[in-house]
Symmetry: D2
Subunit: 291 residues, 4 copies
């Protein structure tokens, strides 16, 4: 499935600063970049880099004396969303989780799974399979947390959301991750471009490691799981922020789009599908237990 | 410098569980393993593994039906502690931090640097160099936080310690890390065997990335920096726990030793040295910008 | 119903300190003191006092140079527990809550009702009457929080317990209070001697203001509601601590008893009763809207 | 000194709700009400009340079907600010604090003094007198916390502010109170009209109980201490909110004024004065241990 994605970010700069951006889509086995453009106005020193153990594609910018910066990114991406029959998402004991997946069992800044263990086992521990537990978590979050723009901020974590029960996509994802990890199910943060998300924006959701694969889950249910283009993965938003700012920079505008390629025929996965199937959008750092 | 290190850990097992242990010393450019033994009684299935982007050496054990487990580890290690002249620990702008070090700028479970930014800049922002800032942080923690066994637990984080002002080595390390990151200085958690630590135990401290190298700092000042043998590095204790338990296992005994090799001549770095010099014990994942 | 209650408290004193004790039973319209003894060994300066708007009976002790203190209290108390038919515990709009009860709507140190509002309305808001809501809260706490000695400390609050889901009687009471207040139902902390509590100790529970009266609720369900002798009421444990210590004093022993008077015939209220009826043990500070 | 104070509050009402307002000035021994007007448009049922142990004057309003409410209050008040020579603000051991003042030693919702004890004793414990400690606290807050509108919300407490170091007058007051109580100095929240506060608004500060009297302190230093007209006192903002809303009401406008009476001659207390003297504005609930 072909998607055209784009982002235009405008920043006001108060003094010479460094920005780390994460807006490039990942290039991996289920996501091919057909075309891609990236530009910054005015021209400033920049460096593309990635971090060991991650396919995220970062850009580091030095603002120098620029008083404002405009970042433009556009790409055409061919995504191969894999619809996973949930009967294959069977039990995977901690003892068989691949080493590279193990860090996704640990608590992180916004996903304090260590503090949610009793709650998670009480609510979901009796469900028969890991896949049932994750869908139980997603349903519970959807039913108990209200999506409310502006109700949280960058300091909000799963420990807050589980009680305060409002948030945005980032908070829904963090809570899903924390509850999975509390049940010994590896889980990680996913950011991406999202087709049919309304209003258009970057989206955040989460992946759980089930049956030897990463499967996508979205407790907000705001967009179809087979319309996502991956930007970043990480333990939580600390690892995959759209922009991390070191210095005096503030966002003036953020315009994000995700359109279907010409001639493509898109059938969104609906609620019913979601209870029967899961979706994967693999990355190179994933385990490939089949191999 | 040769050290003999050993750990004996006894666990009571209530039901079939998985343990991930991190007691093996790292093997890296400044730490050579001369001899090493590892055993578990009774014999249970186990797997050695490491995680991408880390030199930590983990063991995963399946308790099966065993009602108790005794883990024994011993090694003789040749450590090459590098005394760093602090005049070389100069400014390294965010823009020049190597990619693999950048994740150590981000907040983590126990090091909420995002919430400590104003406090950190107010207290240490006027110090002229990054090395001064880190030593300022270490001095401040040493002077303001009381080392008090049993005053904290596994849920305690830097955000608590900065106000409640008691803790153990782990809490001192977490607060040091959080304050460094708040000042845009990469910092990571260090666990190891520690010569002359009294009473003998695993020790936790932290490393700050200064002048292109990781340098060791210990706000507890309980042991000489040139008597350490590295077990683990990580963002915080979530990444480098001695034991992570999935199931029903409790610790019954933990006996740890670190002795000087025969014929070795050890001169502990004293307080005065610490203000003039820093110590490094490099790992392969470090950047080597000189190369 | 006659009860014999007693407490023996032994303290170690490191330096000259002040203690405020709250172990005397209240004297009010439904609780008559038949006999009462209070003594401190060695003899130290002390003062009995009460606080405006409260019937709690405090004693303030000055330890002076004493190295240890033994406090002894014993009383025989005639309690008139009023079994409230729950059909009378009807709706009382905020607009009709008596002024002296209004402060029990506000959040307090250990009962952050302001942070629990969404959760409380989601879980209990659809129940038809305030009495149903309070019994719903009590059932929910009983079913979701595990009574576990030593799992919490004096800093634990309702905001922690609602997520971490372990605690002791004090934590169960705080959570009940916070959830009631979040629903605009006044609620307050109750401490007392408790007949048939096993092991014997001071007990903490809570009262909700329903139908113009304070009714007792105990989410621990560890003791019969008609076997309580009131010591203190307050917003939370900060107002009704058994001992508040200013200085260097630690508890060495605490021995508490509550026995039935000779010839008394006690029928504990059982679970079934609790769903049909509530119990009141009034105090002079209560509103008497009927009068 | 004569002041004309006024407040105009406009509320939007989504559904039938109850409001508790606290905008009336107190009438006490150092504050006489010369004239006073209060009105609500449209006319709705209302009740004036006070709470035991407090001189705060509350109004409870029932919105009924009104879609909006305008509340108007105006008063001319004669205030007798007492400049306290600080040599009289001497030591008052916990053992001599009057009973009615003792609750102001306890932690409260927004003033978690129990968690700040070590920090408070470390920072201020060596100062020789209680008055020195309170002025030390005020100076420390003024120097370390930045006044920043919008940086906090109604859930922010002293435990947050001591680390995050931004806030508004309410946060400055809460932190001052918490630090005083941590040092066993009774402290309470003060709200009032404030002459020369710019921009004009309600103001919040705190009182410490020193030498047998309540003395005013303002860590924001935004207005003269002898230009205040007291509205409310309480343990913290939970006890003395301008408006407590039960239902669906939001504030549309809040316009507050405090002007000097005709012919009055006002000399603001300046910084130098504040280090030498304190100001009291007594209330009837104060202890008068001299009498």
């Amino acid at each position: 499935m072909l998607f055209h994605v784009s982002a235009r970010l405008e920043y006001a700069v108060r003094f010479s600063s460094t920005l780390i951006l994460n807006v490039h889509v990942q290039h991996n086995e289920s996501q091919s970049i057909v075309t891609e453009q990236f530009g910054v106005e005015p021209v400033v020193p920049l460096e593309h880099f990635s971090v060991p153990g991650s396919d995220n594609r970062f850009v580091r910018l030095e603002t120098g004396d620029a008083k404002s910066l405009t970042v433009s990114y556009a790409a055409t991406v061919d995504c191969d969303h894999d619809i996973l029959p949930t009967r294959n998402l069977e039990e995977l004991p901690v003892g068989e989780i691949p080493p590279e997946v193990i860090p996704y069992l640990f608590p992180s800044r916004y996903c304090q799974s260590d503090k949610l263990a009793r709650l998670a086992w009480d609510l979901f521990g009796k469900l028969p399979t890991p896949h049932d537990r994750v869908t139980g978590i997603v349903d519970w979050i959807h039913n108990n947390v209200e999506y409310l723009s502006g109700s949280t901020d960058s300091g909000t974590s799963a420990y807050d959301t589980v009680t305060q029960r409002t948030g945005v996509c980032r908070d829904f994802a963090h809570l899903g991750i924390a509850l999975c990890r509390a049940l010994n199910i590896p889980a990680r943060y996913f950011t991406g471009y999202s087709y049919q998300l309304d209003p258009p924006d970057f989206h955040a959701l989460f992946e759980a490691y089930l049956g030897g694969r990463w499967a996508l889950f979205d407790a907000t249910r705001l967009a179809p799981l087979n319309g996502l283009v991956r930007i970043g993965s990480g333990r939580d938003a600390a690892d995959a922020a759209v922009a991390t700012i070191f210095g005096g920079v503030s966002t003036r505008l953020s315009k994000v789009e995700c359109k279907l390629g010409e001639g493509q025929n898109f059938t969104p996965l609906d609620r019913g599908d979601l209870t029967r199937a899961a979706v994967a959008l693999e990355t190179n750092t994933d385990a490939t237990p089949e191999a």
